[in-house]
Amino acid sequence: MKKALALTLGIVTSIGGFLDMGALATSAQAGASYRFQLLWTIGLATLLVIFLVEMSGRFAAATRKALPDAIREHFGFTFWLVPFFVLSLSHLLVLGTEIGGICFALHLVSGLPTSFWALPVGVLLVTFLWRSTFNTIEDSTSLLGLITLAFVVAAVSHHPPMKDLLAGFVPTLTAEEPLKYWGIAVSIVGAVLSPYLFYFYSSGAVEDDWDSSFIGVNRGIAALGMGFGSVVAMGALVVAAMVLAPRGIAMDDYHQAALMLTDAFPFWGFLLFAVGLGVACLAASLEVALSMAYATAQTFGWNWGESLDPREDARFGAVYTGAIALSSLIILVGVDPLKLTLLAMATEAAVLPFVALPFLILMNDRKLLKEHANGWISNTVAVIVLLLALVLTVVSIPLALLGGGG
């Protein structure tokens, strides 16, 4: 019974983990500019992330250690240094993106500028993390996150042409403005294969006291959680394709996206969009900030844990406080949230090989994982992820600068 509850909560939380500013923005952009043509990218990236998240959970359940901890211990500081540095960089940029998302949502409902909300939101996030336990954060944000199902409802209500929709799942390799097409494709992959996602997941599993009996439940959580999250992102793409594309709105500005849900929900659409965006970004900000704190504390061997009293792990608390402060500052000074999102997604794609390689090597360590080490299926996916990641590292940032932003 307890496992069933863990499964349900885990799925709901994972939906929230999948869905963040990056996933929503890149999906909407894809729909606005290329209608259904990029659905295959979301599908492919989801398939890969399901495997990565499953591996991350399996690792934590079998070894009772989180990834940064295990990587420093196994490979040593010198080999962990570069991955840790780029992981932290990615964390900060993504955190800025998520905080920007919350601030933008508040701007939509209040009319006050996005940058105005940076400070209050930063304080709110720090207070929440300071005072809550891991479970409170997981449960509250995940349940609120179900509001994003509005995107799916809206997508269905638009009656998208099934032939075109299904054709979107077949990879199209040539398109108008290929730089822009591939730029968006790459940013979708970066948004879905977020390093913080599978790093956070392992620390979360340790916080939740998982042991090897959770390995089965973990598979369900990974597949269903990421799967459902993916459906919402696809919903956002479809809505953008049905609402924005016909009007020739290319989504160069988030304000254009805000009206996405008003066709399906004439009265509530605007509010639903704002609340859905705000809540998804709230959940993501907490996760990214914590992920940064977990990685830093574990790297240096400090006490860590969200459920600990702040007096016992003050340095852990100082890291997420500092990260939130720094990221809020980015929004406070008026950086455009959309441009920041694209840069953050490109950066996530670029750092993927550095942070995935040690992880995937560890998944094959039989001394550590015993019978839970990777089998040939997981390893095949691992190789695909690494090859894809290497390509992305080279192309992502140039593409973002040349083509992606519209």
Binding site: K65, F77, F300, W302, N303
Partner: protein
Amino acid sequence: MKKLDLTRDLLDMQVVGRDGTKMGRVDGLILELRGDLPPRVDAIEMGFAVLARRMGPRAERWLAKLRRWSVRRTASQRVPWSKVKAIEPHHIQIDLDALETPAFAWEIWLRDHFVAPIEGKREKSG
């Protein structure tokens, strides 16, 4: 006679104090060169200064400059080998209390300057 690999089983391992608190990691090892006898591990070292040295002389100088604002009085902490009580698969147990050591200087400083005043204010108003 227990065999171990200094890089796999000692270096970069989590260090745990007498009370079970995480104190840091084995960032460095001091070897005593005994001439005709094989070298022995004299002490384990913990601290940012040790890591900076591993990263290179420039990093070391940089950190030395930053330390002016540091709360800790020592840049690194040496724990003599005699204080190492157990080498477990995933941590090293040492016979010291975390609070006895400089490891927790920041924890204590942050607690006294930020956590305690905030918690104290809440108790007064709540």
